[in-house]
């Protein structure tokens, strides 16, 4: 049965990462052809699938439940804190928003000489690095027996992005990446905090038990929005005569 508290953050996070991977594959395909670029992407996805299966088996059998919760909780904090901080900075105007069209142009420029091996390697590395973030979330959220929910959500996101990309055949610049990263960052930090403290102090550390989790999501999302408003750079006033 699908667990929606796992499916939603995994699907949203995976969508953002697959869009970035798709942009790189699209740029590479223009230099070395669709077949080769998709071959590189498929090879990277295969490696990620093997890693997911291997990590799932190892994590499920090698550690006690609280040890597992601590490892996963710390990994989620490492990941979520970074995403939320970047989303706050972008929302506040401290950091430029991610631009898929720019990334697309950069990848094309790197491939201007038409080197097949370089193109294949860029597509493989791009999908691998973006996919590693998806892998982390799939493993971290799926480890408590929710593999179908986390892996299924990541695969669904891949299908949606691939289908949208095939239809548009352009960088998917309209995906509201920062909004998604804000929401997912808050969810991932909430899971990370919840599991880390539960692993260290036991289930009684959270007043309200599992109900503390939605409270944490609201706290981090609200806190992040407040920080973005506090840090917002004033827009330069232009005098109009």
């Amino acid at each position: 049965m699908f667990q929606w508290t796992i499916v939603i953050p995994t699907f949203l996070a995976a969508t953002v990462e697959w869009v970035e991977a798709f942009t790189i594959v699209l740029a590479v395909s223009l230099a070395i052809g669709w077949r080769s670029a998709l071959g590189a992407a498929a090879a990277a996805l295969l490696v990620l699938a093997v890693m997911t299966a291997a990590a799932g088996g190892a994590l499920s059998h090698g550690l006690s439940i609280s040890g597992l919760q601590l490892v996963i909780g710390v990994f989620l904090l490492l990941f979520g804190v970074r995403w939320l901080a970047k989303a706050v900075a972008r929302q506040a105007g401290l950091k430029a928003r991610h631009n898929e069209a720019e990334e697309f142009d950069e990848a094309r420029a790197r491939l201007a000489n038409g080197d097949w091996y370089a193109g294949w390697a860029i597509a493989f590395k791009g999908v691998m690095l973006e996919g590693l973030e998806v892998w982390l979330i799939v493993v971290a959220l799926g480890v408590h027996g929710f593999w179908a929910s986390s892996a299924g959500a990541a695969i669904a996101a891949l299908i949606v992005v691939a289908a949208a990309g095939a239809l548009v055949r352009a960088p998917l610049a309209r995906v509201p990446e920062n909004t998604i990263k804000f929401a997912v960052g808050a969810m991932i930090v909430a899971f990370g905090t919840f599991w880390t403290l539960e692993a260290l102090g036991g289930p009684h550390v959270w007043p309200g038990g599992d109900w503390a989790l939605p409270g944490l999501v609201i706290f981090y999302a609200g806190g992040g929005m407040l920080l973005a408003a506090l840090f917002r750079k004033p827009v330069a006033m232009v005098e109009v005569r």
Partner: protein, 57 residues
């Protein structure tokens, strides 16, 4: 390799923030203050997010 490590754990500042959060939680739990840990660590985490966001400037 550098890109791989950065993808998995982030930069040194990100690791420092998370290490501070985890050490803070460990200190509170092992000093027997488990009743306050749920009220201290989330604001500490948000403070870490704020510090990292300012560093993106």
């Amino acid at each position: 390799m550098k890109a791989l490590v950065k993808t998995l754990v982030g930069d040194v500042w990100n690791v420092s923030v998370v290490a501070t959060i985890v050490l803070g939680a460990v200190a509170l739990v092992y000093s027997g203050r488990t009743e306050v840990v749920a009220f201290v660590i989330p604001p500490l985490t948000l403070a870490g997010v704020a510090w990292l966001a300012r560093r993106q400037d």
